[in-house]
Amino acid sequence: MPRDWLDLLSSEWWSLLGATAAHLELVVEAVTLAVLVGVPLGILAARRPLLERTAVGASGVLQTVPSLALLGFLLIAFRGQIGKAPALAALVLYALLPIVKNTILGLQSSDPGVREAAIALGMTGWQRLRLVELPLAVPIVLGGVRVATVASVGMATIAAAIGARGLGSYIFRGVALSDTRLILLGSVPSALLALGCDAALGEAERLLDPARPRNSRRRGWIAAMAVGLLLAFAAWGWLLDHPMGGSNRLTITIGSKDGSEMILLGYMLADLVEAHTPIGVDRRFNLGGTLVCYNALRLGGLDAYVEYTGTALTTILKERVQTDPQAVLERVRTELKDRDHVVCLDPFGFENTFAILMRRDQAQRLGIRKISDLLAHKRDIRPGFGPEFMNRPDGYPGLVGAYGLEFAHAPREMDRNLLYRALTQESIDLAAGDSTDGRIAAFDLLQLDDDRRYFPPYQAVPLVRAETLQRFPELREVLNLLAGKIDAAAMRQMNREVDQEGKKPEEVAHGFLRRKGLLLKD
């Protein structure tokens, strides 16, 4: 185990350091912007009760918006731009409240004697603000900046859901691939970063507090160096994001939804494009779900990603469930093209459908083999589903209708990727997974027979912007190289290698393409 850790750490060292720097840079940029907006707003609001109520109220409301919802909204507001811009906007919006609030508080809490003396000296309003009130408010304002910074370090991890660089990508990837090591690799540096920012800003706050005795010169130097070091680290993160020169190479952006299968297919498409064309690929994988990916694709933040036809039909087009895979594909193809100018290429070959899973030993003990067998046990079985399955018409609601399955225990809702482990750890008895997931075999789970043919079989297809295909017509052929090349067994095997054997998805994907001879140019 420790050996294992060292290997992972040494192989990931540089990219981890880069991700930490990018993370910090995002935070620094967000807090700086929030200070530039929040402090003037606080100054204006401090003497105007109506504006104060409005500003504090509005930033308070923003703070209550769930972060993923805000990110999703901003993704659309930013016209589908994946990555930094919407993430930055979200962080700024969250950071505003403590900064505005503390600026107002700092300005309002100055000593009345001092305030009167300032007026009696004949200071103008501006002089009072500049010479007296603001300098005295600095420690309190800095306290707000500190709270905002520490909160932003945590919040910035979530920004990985919309493709922002940073430590969150490790955490999300760890969850998607059920790899605890990756989760720790993301969360430990993030916690350290939060502690470091807190300590450095706390020291700065103490130094700038006029009410405290002067600290020793040495302590001042240490604080200044700590803040300087953090800023330099953030600057390096910025440089990583903005490579000098030579960036006029043509690139497209390929994304993927979360989960190992989606990441694998994303790598394959990206590798194919780079092997067969001079186009560079910006890989933004493991994004937070169908709507993030599809909206980004529709609005231009992504050029391509892999989607399931059934998901496109029910979640994107919001149409009724159909059971004929070919009909679904045709319907999706025409509708997406007409509605959103999105081209649906050819299926990879395997079919994927929702799989209702149980632990094999429990299923055998209870004599359950097909979904309708569950009816006799619906009082005792404890189900757990992912959020998407819970809400899709072809998910839980439809399942209840088709089989009359009303479980006595309300289904537990948890991340799709955590379901498998929850099932083996017996915290739930039943889950909905993907039929191609490698963990079904690995955890010795039983896929119940869908005896009423409720779940339609879905095909995985690359979705590409029509505009991108017009710019690079050769992409159509390249992205279709995988058409019909991946059967269910191959997909399951690759998923298993990633989920169970801890192999890197990029290596598994590359290996598959090489074995199929798809990387060679003809």
Binding site: D111, G113, V114, E116, A117, A118, I119, A120, L121, G122, M123, T124, Q127, L131, V132, P135, L136, P210, A211, P213, R214
Partner: protein, 259 residues
């Protein structure tokens, strides 16, 4: 403009001044009073007698509800309040010093708000510190929290003198000090004021301070002027029973400590 009751000899004149606060409380009732150039007027009274309100009308921190206040032959409403305040020194308890500025910067602040050049600000501040008996080289770089109460009060006076050596308002300036330091500062201030011929309006509830510093006293009670004049007239001809009572009370408390 109707002839002001002030002659050039008067630095400040309160002309039938009243003050009613928004809540309806009447703090000052029809007070007429004046301060001659170069004299110290002590506004004496218990808390709530209206003495601070009268004082704050002089530098336009407050406005009279009726009547008018004339400073240097101009009604306060004709002054630009910023310019008026810059031309008047103001000392409050504990000095009202800025905790984030050094002693020198605190004193220089008076010149700084007037936009005078930095060199001038500092030389003025240093000379004013010397006037109040603080060595600028030794105290200039210290911060208010590093000073004793008496030293802080001296800095407060130095800052007021930096704004104007012509007219100074003081609100219980020595109230927070121990008796020995207070007396020392009072005596020094008296000498300084004589030398500079500064006009001073002093608010105090301490009869001994009023007598020691004031050329003239004005006793206020519930917003009304009860009696004014040199200290001796209060003892010889008390205007009404309250004056007598006030003096006897103060004397009774003070008797044991009389030298």
């Amino acid at each position: 403009m109707a002839e002001l009751s002030s002659s050039p000899a008067q630095a400040v004149v309160w002309d039938d001044v009243s003050k009613v606060y928004p809540g309806g409380h009447q703090a000052v009732r029809g007070v007429s009073l004046s301060v001659a150039r170069g004299e110290i007027l002590a506004l004496l009274g218990t808390s709530g007698s209206g003495k601070t309100t009268l004082l704050k009308m002089v530098n336009a921190l407050m406005e009279p509800s009726s009547g008018r206040v004339v400073v240097r032959d101009r009604c306060t409403t004709e002054w630009d309040p910023i310019a008026l305040r810059r031309s008047i020194g103001y000392v409050i308890q504990e000095g009202g010093l800025m905790p984030h500025l050094s002693v020198l910067d605190n004193v220089a602040l008076a010149a700084r708000v007037q936009g005078r050049p930095l060199r001038e600000q500092h030389s003025l501040a240093a000379s004013r510190l010397e006037l109040v008996g603080l060595d600028p080289a030794r105290f200039g770089r210290l911060f208010p929290r590093q000073l004793s109460g008496g030293q802080r009060q001296r800095v407060g006076v130095a800052r007021a003198l930096a704004a104007s050596s012509d007219l100074i308002l003081m609100d219980e300036p020595f109230g927070a000090l121990d008796p020995i330091t207070r007396r020392e500062l009072q005596d020094e201030f008296r000498r300084l004021q004589r030398r500079l011929k500064t006009t001073v309006v002093l608010v105090t509830h301490d009869l001994r301070e009023a007598c020691r510093l004031g050329d003239r006293l004005a006793l206020l009670h519930e917003g009304e002027l009860v009696q004014e004049g040199p200290a001796a007239t209060f003892l010889q001809n008390p205007a009404d029973p309250y004056v007598r009572e006030f003096f006897l009370d103060a004397a009774a408390v003070d008797l044991p400590s009389k030298d």
